[in-house]
C-alpha cells in the first residue's frame, strides 16, 4: 500500500489546481466537496498507509518513492522523492487528519465568505506544501515545502485583503520567516559542500564520519538550520510575527499557526538530529531558546485581551516546550508534545473561532462572558482543550506530553535545573492564562449578544478533536504510570533514545511538582478573575504593575526594537535614495558637458577679428611648440 504515498500530497494539489483555475465556475457546494474532500481522502489514504507501515514495517524502517529527478547539475542531483519513516508518518498523519477536520469545519465557518473557493484553494495548497515538507527526502525539496507553506501562510493571513492591516501582518510573517529561511538556505550550502549531497539520510549518515563530536562546522550548520526553524516556529528572536498572524481566519490559525506549519522547525531539528547531536553547543542553544521563548510568550499571553492573541502566544510558548525537549535530547517527547499540542491547539482555535463568529466577530475577551450555557458544545470542547493546554493532571493528554518534557529537562543528560525551573514556571503561567481565558469567556455576565449558533459542520470536528485532546495522551505513559510507550517505540526507529542522568525513580516527585504548579495557576486565576476581581483593579493602581503589563502586552518590546534597529534605518535609506544617488554622477557629467558647450560656444562670437586672433594664436602655439621642442 505504500506506493499510494504519492497520492497523499497530490490530492490536495489537484484540488488546489481545480479551485484555482476554475474556482469561479464551480458552485459553493462543489468547492466544499473538492476542497475538504481531497484532504479527507488524503487522511484516509494516510491511515491505510499508516496501518500497513505499522503492521508490515519495511525492512529498512523507511520507504521512499522517487517521482522524477528534479535536476542534474554537476554533482548536484536532487530528486523529487517522497520519504516515509516513522517521524514523517506521524507528521503526515497529524497534517492530513487535523487538516481534514479543519477543512470540514471551514465549510461551515466560511460559508458566508465571498472568496470561498480562494480560501479552500489556499488551504489545499498549504496541506500539499506541508506534506511535501515532511515527506521530502532531500533538503532542497524540504525547502520547497518550507517556502510553500510560508507562501500559503502569507496568502491566508492576508486573506481578508481589503484591510491593509491584514496585508501588513501577512507581509511581516513572510519576511520574518524569510530571514530564518535565508539562514537555512546558507545552511544548505554548507551541507552541500561538506557532504556533496542534500539527501537527508545520506547527510545524516556521513555527518558522524566527517565531523567529530563538537566539530566547528557541525555547530555552524546546526545553528543555521536552527535559524530556519526559529523563524518558522516563531521562537525567540523571530517570534514577533505570529501574534499578528492572527489576522487570518480562525481555521487558518488553527491549521497553520497552531497545528502544523509553526511546528516545522521542530520537524526540521528532529529530522536533522544527528547534526545537532554532534554539536552540544547548538543543542544547548536550542534548549535555551525554547525555554526563554516559553517563558516570555507565556507572560505575554497573560496580558492579552484578544482571545486569538492569547492562543497565539500560547502556541509560541508551547513550541518553546518542544524546542526545550529537542534541546535536552528528548526527541520523542518533543514530537509527542507536537502531536498533542496539534490536537488541543487546533481545537482551541476552532472553538475560539466559533465563539468569535457567534459574537459578531468580537475578539475582545473582556466583551465576552457568560457563554457557558449559551454555547454548551463550544464550552465543553473549549474546556477540554484548555485542560489539555494547562496540563490538568491525569485526565488531559497535555499533562502526559508536557510532564515528560519537564522531567527530561531535569533528568536528561543535557538537562539543567534552571531550564526545568523556568519550564515549571511556564507551566504555572500556562495554567494561569488558560484559566483566565476560560473565566473571561464563559463565566461572568454576557456582554455581547449571540448572533448565530455554530452548525453541525463546525461542532462535529470540535468534538472529535476534544476526544483526542483527552485521550491521545494514553499512547505514551510515564515510567511510573504504566510505562506504555507505543509512540516512542515507533519513533525510536528514527530518533535516538533520550539519555538520562537521573534515575527514573525521581519522576514521581517531578510529576507532583508539575501538578502543583498547574493547580496553583488555576487557583490564582480563579481568585483574580472570578472570586475577587477587585484585586486586579488594585494591581492596576500600581505604576510598576502597569508598566510591566504594557511591556508584556507588547510582546516584550521586540517589535519596537526591530523597528528602531532594522526597519526604520532601511526604510530611511531607501527613501532618501529613492532617486538613486549613482545617477547624480551621470547628471554631473551631463552638466559639465553642457557647461563646456556654453563656454565654447561663447568663443564663436561671430567677430571676424576674433577669428583672426584665433588663427594667429593657433599659429603662435604651433610655431612655439616646434621651436621649443
Amino acid at each position: 500500500m505504500n506506493n499510494l504515498l504519492w497520492l497523499v500530497p497530490t490530492l490536495p494539489l489537484v484540488s488546489f489546481l481545480i479551485l484555482a483555475l476554475a474556482g469561479k465556475h464551480v458552485s459553493r457546494v462543489w468547492v466544499a466537496i473538492i476542497g475538504a474532500g481531497s484532504v479527507s481522502l488524503s487522511a484516509i489514504i494516510t491511515l491505510i498507509i499508516g496501518i500497513s507501515f505499522l503492521s508490515l514495517p519495511p525492512a529498512t524502517g523507511n520507504y521512499s518513492q522517487t517521482l522524477w529527478t528534479w535536476m542534474q547539475v554537476g554533482g548536484f542531483n536532487p530528486k523529487i522523492t517522497l520519504f516515509l519513516d516513522a517521524l514523517s508518518l506521524i507528521f503526515v498523519f497529524v497534517i492530513t487528519f487535523i487538516g481534514a477536520l479543519i477543512h470540514i469545519y471551514s465549510v461551515g465557518f466560511m460559508a458566508d465568505d465571498k472568496d470561498y473557493s480562494r480560501f479552500f484553494a489556499c488551504m489545499n495548497l498549504f496541506v500539499f506544501s506541508m506534506l511535501l515538507l515532511v515527506l521530502a527526502d532531500n533538503l532542497l525539496l524540504l525547502y520547497l515545502g518550507w517556502e510553500g507553506v510560508g507562501l500559503c501562510s502569507y496568502l491566508l493571513i492576508g486573506f481578508w485583503y481589503e484591510n491593509p492591516a491584514n496585508g501588513y501582518a501577512a507581509r511581516k510573517a513572510f519576511i520574518i520567516t524569510r530571514v530564518g529561511d535565508t539562514a537555512m538556505a546558507i545552511g544548505l550550502f554548507v551541507i552541500f559542500y561538506q557532504f556533496g549531497t542534500l539527501v537527508i539520510p545520506d547527510v545524516l549518515a556521513k555527518a558522524p564520519i566527517l565531523w567529530h563530536q563538537g566539530a566547528y562546522m557541525a555547530t555552524i550548520t546546526a545553528l543555521l538550520l536552527l535559524a530556519g526553524g526559529v523563524g518558522k516556529s516563531a521562537q525567540l528572536p523571530l517570534q514577533t510575527w505570529l501574534p499578528d498572524a492572527m489576522a487570518g481566519p480562525s481555521p487558518v490559525s488553527a491549521l497553520i499557526h497552531a497545528a502544523t506549519m509553526v511546528t516545522a522547525g521542530v520537524y526540521l531539528i528532529a529530522r536533522m538530529h544527528v547534526i545537532f547531536q554532534l554539536s552540544p553547543i547548538a543543542q544547548m542553544i536550542v534548549a535555551v531558546i525554547g525555554t526563554a521563548t516559553l517563558f516570555i510568550a507565556g507572560l505575554s499571553a497573560l496580558t492579552q485581551y484578544d482571545i486569538k492573541r492569547v492562543l497565539a502566544y500560547s502556541t509560541i510558548s508551547q513550541i518553546g516546550y518542544m524546542f526545550l525537549a529537542l534541546g535536552v535530547g528528548a526527541w520523542t517527547a518533543a514530537i509527542f508534545h507536537f502531536v498533542i499540542h496539534a490536537f488541543f491547539k487546533a481545537l482551541l482555535f476552532l472553538a475560539a473561532g466559533a465563539v468569535i463568529e457567534a459574537l459578531h466577530h468580537e475578539h475582545n475577551m473582556f466583551k465576552m462572558g457568560g457563554l457557558k450555557n449559551k454555547l454548551p458544545v463550544i464550552f465543553w470542547t473549549f474546556l477540554v482543550g484548555s485542560a489539555s493546554l494547562a496540563a490538568l493532571p491525569l485526565i488531559s493528554a497535555g499533562f502526559y506530553s508536557k510532564d515528560q518534557i519537564l522531567w527530561y529537562a531535569w533528568a536528561s543528560q543535557s538537562g539543567n535545573p534552571l531550564l526545568w525551573f523556568i519550564a515549571l514556571l511556564g507551566a504555572f503561567i500556562t495554567a494561569l492564562y488558560t484559566t483566565r481565558m476560560m473565566i473571561l469567556v464563559f463565566w461572568g455576565e454576557a456582554k455581547t449578544a449571540i448572533g448565530h449558533h455554530p452548525g453541525k459542520l463546525m461542532t462535529v470536528p470540535l468534538i472529535i478533536l476534544a476526544f483526542f485532546s483527552l485521550f491521545a495522551g494514553f499512547i505514551e505513559l510515564p515510567h511510573n504510570f504504566g510505562h506504555f510507550t507505543l509512540f516512542s517505540n515507533l519513533l525510536h526507529q528514527v530518533l535516538p533514545e533520550t539519555v538520562l542522568k537521573a534515575g527514573i525513580n525521581t519522576e514521581l516527585q517531578f510529576q507532583v511538582l508539575a501538578s502543583l504548579s498547574t493547580f496553583g495557576g488555576i487557583y490564582l486565576a480563579y481568585i483574580f478573575y472570578y472570586k475577587q476581581p477587585q484585586r486586579i483593579e488594585k494591581l492596576k493602581q500600581s505604576g510598576f504593575a502597569m508598566n510591566l503589563y504594557f511591556f508584556w502586552f507588547s510582546g516584550w518590546g521586540f517589535d519596537k526594537l526591530y523597528n528602531v534597529l532594522i526597519v526604520k534605518p532601511i526604510v530611511f535609506i531607501a527613501n532618501i535614495n529613492k532617486n538613486d544617488v549613482v545617477d547624480k554622477l551621470y547628471q554631473g557629467i551631463t552638466f559639465v558637458t553642457i557647461r563646456l558647450y556654453q563656454s565654447l560656444s561663447f568663443t564663436q562670437s561671430g567677430s571676424l577679428r576674433w577669428y583672426v586672433m584665433g588663427l594667429v594664436i593657433g599659429a603662435i602655439i604651433i610655431l612655439s611648440i616646434q621651436i621649443m621642442l
Partner: protein
C-alpha cells in the same frame, strides 16, 4: 543555413510590415506574428532534434557553424554558429518576441507598420548577437539593435521618453565603442602573434596576450557587457529606459537585451581572457553583490511600478554576475537558468504593469490598490510572478538563484552570504508590489476589467514556462551543458576541488546510513 533564415525572416518580416503597414495596420501585426511564430516553431523542432544528440559529443558543443566571407581583407566573415546557450537564448528571443507582438496588439495604434518594423529588427539584432561567431559581426549586431530600440522608446514611450531613449542609447553606445577598441586591439595582437589577421572567434580563442594588456582588453569587453547587464554603477539608464518604454519595449529590454550582456561575458570575456577574468573575479562578484542589495533597496522605495520592476532587474542581474565569476558548473548553470527565468518573470511583471497602465492610466502604485476584487485573475498571476521574483521554490527563479548561490558559495563564502541576504530584500519589494497594487482597500469608482482572452494566452504561456522551469529544468540544463563544461575546462583550478569532493562523497549513501544506525 537555418541561422541565416532566422535573421532573414525577422528582417524581411520587418520590412514587409513597414511597407504593408501603410495601408493596413492589422496586416503588419499578423506579419510580425507569423514571422516570429515560424521562427519559433522552426527553432523548437531544431531543438528537439538536437536534444537527443546533445550530450553525446560533449567535447564539441557546436551544433551549427555557418561561414561566408564578408570582408576578407580584414579577415571578417559572416560567421554564425550556435551551441546550447545560443540555442536556448534564441528560443527565448522568439518566444518573448511573440509575446511582445501579442501584448502590443491593441496597445499600439499609431504608426503600426513602423512599430513592428522596429520590433522585428531589434529581435533580429539580438538573434544576431546570440549567433555571431565573428567579433566584428558580433559588434555589428550588438549595435544594430540599438537604433530600433531607440525608436521604440523614443516614439512609443510615455512622457519622459526622449530622455530615457537618449540615456539608453548613449550608455550602450559609449560602452560598445570601448568594446570595439578592445576587439580591434585583440585582432592586432592575434595578428601579430600568428600572422593571421582575423576576427574569427574560434581562432582568437587562446590568443597569447601579456597579462597587463589582457586585463585592459578584457575591461573593454566587460564594460560593454556590464552596462547592458547592468551592474551597479552603470545601471542608471535601465530604470529610465524600462519605465518609459512601451510594454513590448520593456519586455524586450528586460527579457532579452540585458541577457546579451551576460551572454557576452560567458561567450567572450571568460574564454578569451581566462587569466584576466580570474583576476577580476573577486571584484566582479563584489559588484554583483552590491547590485543585488542596492537594486533591491532602490526597488523598495520606488512608487512607479515599472521603475520598481526595473530595479528588481538590477538586483537579479547581480546574481548573474556573481554566478558567472564563480567559475563552476553549478553557478554557471544557475546563471543560464537565471537568464531564462528572469526574462520570463520580469517580462510578465512588465506586461502586467503595461496592462495596468492601459486600464488605470497610471504607473503610480500609490494610486492603485484593492484591484484583486475586480481582477482576481491578474492578481493571482501577479502574485505568482512576485513569488517567482522573490525566488519561491517550485518556480524557475528559485532553481536559478539557488544554483548560483551554491556555486558562488564555493568561490566566496562571505559574498554569497550577503547575496543570500538579498533574498530577504527581494521578498520585501515583491510583496510590496502585490500589497500596493492588488490588496488593500479599493478607492476606484469606474470598473476595470480582468484579463481578455489574448492576455490570458500571453500570461498562460509565461506561467506554464516558469512553473515548468521550476519543476523540471533538466532540458535547459542539458542543452547548455556541453557549453558550460567547455567553460569549466578553461578554469580547471577552481573545479578540481569539487571533483574530488564528489568523488569522496558518492560511495556513501543511504544504505550505509542504515548500517551505521544499527551499530
Amino acid at each position: 543555413m537555418i541561422l541565416v533564415y532566422l535573421i532573414g525572416i525577422l528582417m524581411g518580416g520587418g520590412l514587409l510590415a513597414l511597407m504593408l503597414g501603410q495601408w493596413n495596420k492589422n496586416l503588419s501585426r499578423w506579419i510580425a506574428l507569423c514571422a516570429l511564430s515560424t521562427g519559433f516553431i522552426a527553432l523548437l523542432f531544431f531543438w528537439i532534434d538536437q536534444y537527443r544528440t546533445i550530450n553525446i559529443h560533449l567535447s564539441n558543443p557546436w551544433m551549427i557553424d555557418y561561414r561566408h566571407d564578408w570582408i576578407p581583407l580584414f579577415g571578417i566573415s559572416f560567421h554564425l554558429g550556435i551551441d546550447g546557450l545560443s540555442l536556448l537564448l534564441l528560443v527565448l528571443t522568439f518566444f518573448l518576441g511573440i509575446l511582445a507582438v501579442l501584448c502590443s496588439w491593441n496597445d499600439v495604434k499609431e504608426r503600426v507598420g513602423f512599430y513592428y518594423f522596429n520590433l522585428l529588427w531589434i529581435l533580429a539584432g539580438i538573434s544576431g548577437v546570440f549567433m555571431a561567431m565573428d567579433l566584428f559581426l558580433f559588434y555589428f549586431f550588438w549595435e544594430m539593435m540599438l537604433i530600433p530600440m531607440y525608436f521604440l522608446i523614443g516614439i512609443w514611450g510615455s512622457e519622459n521618453r526622449v530622455y530615457a531613449a537618449y540615456k539608453f542609447f548613449i550608455f550602450t553606445q559609449a560602452s560598445g565603442l570601448l568594446m570595439l577598441l578592445a576587439i580591434i586591439g585583440l585582432y592586432f595582437i592575434h595578428g601579430r602573434n600568428t600572422g593571421i589577421y582575423t576576427f574569427n572567434y574560434f581562432e582568437l580563442l587562446g590568443t597569447a596576450i601579456s597579462p597587463g594588456i589582457a586585463f585592459w582588453l578584457m575591461l573593454g569587453f566587460m564594460i560593454a557587457f556590464v552596462v547592458k547587464l547592468p551592474i551597479v554603477p552603470f545601471h542608471t539608464w535601465l530604470p529610465d529606459a524600462h519605465s518609459e518604454a512601451p510594454t513590448a519595449g520593456s519586455l524586450i529590454l528586460a527579457g532579452l537585451l540585458l541577457k546579451t550582456g551576460a551572454y557576452g561575458i560567458l561567450r567572450f570575456v571568460l574564454p578569451l581572457f581566462p587569466q584576466a577574468a580570474r583576476e577580476l573575479a573577486p571584484w566582479a562578484m563584489l559588484f554583483g553583490v552590491i547590485g543585488i542589495i542596492y537594486g533591491a533597496i532602490l526597488a523598495y522605495s520606488q512608487t512607479d511600478l515599472k521603475r520598481l520592476v526595473a530595479y528588481t532587474s538590477v538586483s537579479h542581474m547581480g546574481f548573474v554576475i556573481l554566478g558567472i565569476f564563480a567559475f563552476n558548473e553549478l553557478a554557471l548553470q544557475g546563471v543560464v537558468m537565471q537568464l531564462v527565468t528572469h526574462a520570463i518573470s520580469t517580462g510578465a511583471l512588465f506586461i502586467m504593469a503595461g496592462m495596468l497602465k492601459e486600464r488605470l492610466h497610471t504607473r503610480d502604485i500609490n494610486h492603485m490598490g484593492g484591484l484583486w476584487t475586480e481582477m482576481p485573475q491578474m492578481g493571482a498571476i501577479a502574485m505568482l510572478f512576485a513569488m517567482a521574483s522573490l525566488g519561491l521554490p517550485g518556480l524557475g527563479n528559485f532553481i536559478a538563484e539557488f544554483l548560483i548561490l551554491v556555486g558562488a558559495f564555493k568561490a566566496n563564502v562571505l559574498l554569497t552570504i550577503i547575496a543570500t541576504i538579498g533574498l530577504i530584500f527581494s521578498a520585501i519589494y515583491s510583496l510590496r508590489i502585490v500589497q500596493k497594487v492588488f490588496l488593500g482597500p479599493s478607492e476606484r469608482q469606474d470598473p476595470v476589467h480582468d484579463f481578455s482572452f489574448r492576455e490570458i494566452m500571453v500570461m498562460a504561456a509565461l506561467t506554464l514556462s516558469i512553473v515548468w522551469l521550476g519543476l523540471y529544468p533538466q532540458p535547459v540544463i542539458n542543452t547548455v551543458k556541453p557549453m558550460i563544461n567547455k567553460l569549466e575546462y578553461i578554469f580547471p583550478i577552481e573545479n578540481k576541488n569539487t571533483q574530488k569532493e564528489n568523488h569522496q562523497a558518492t560511495p556513501l549513501n543511504a544504505h550505509q546510513y542504515r548500517v551505521k544506525k544499527q551499530e
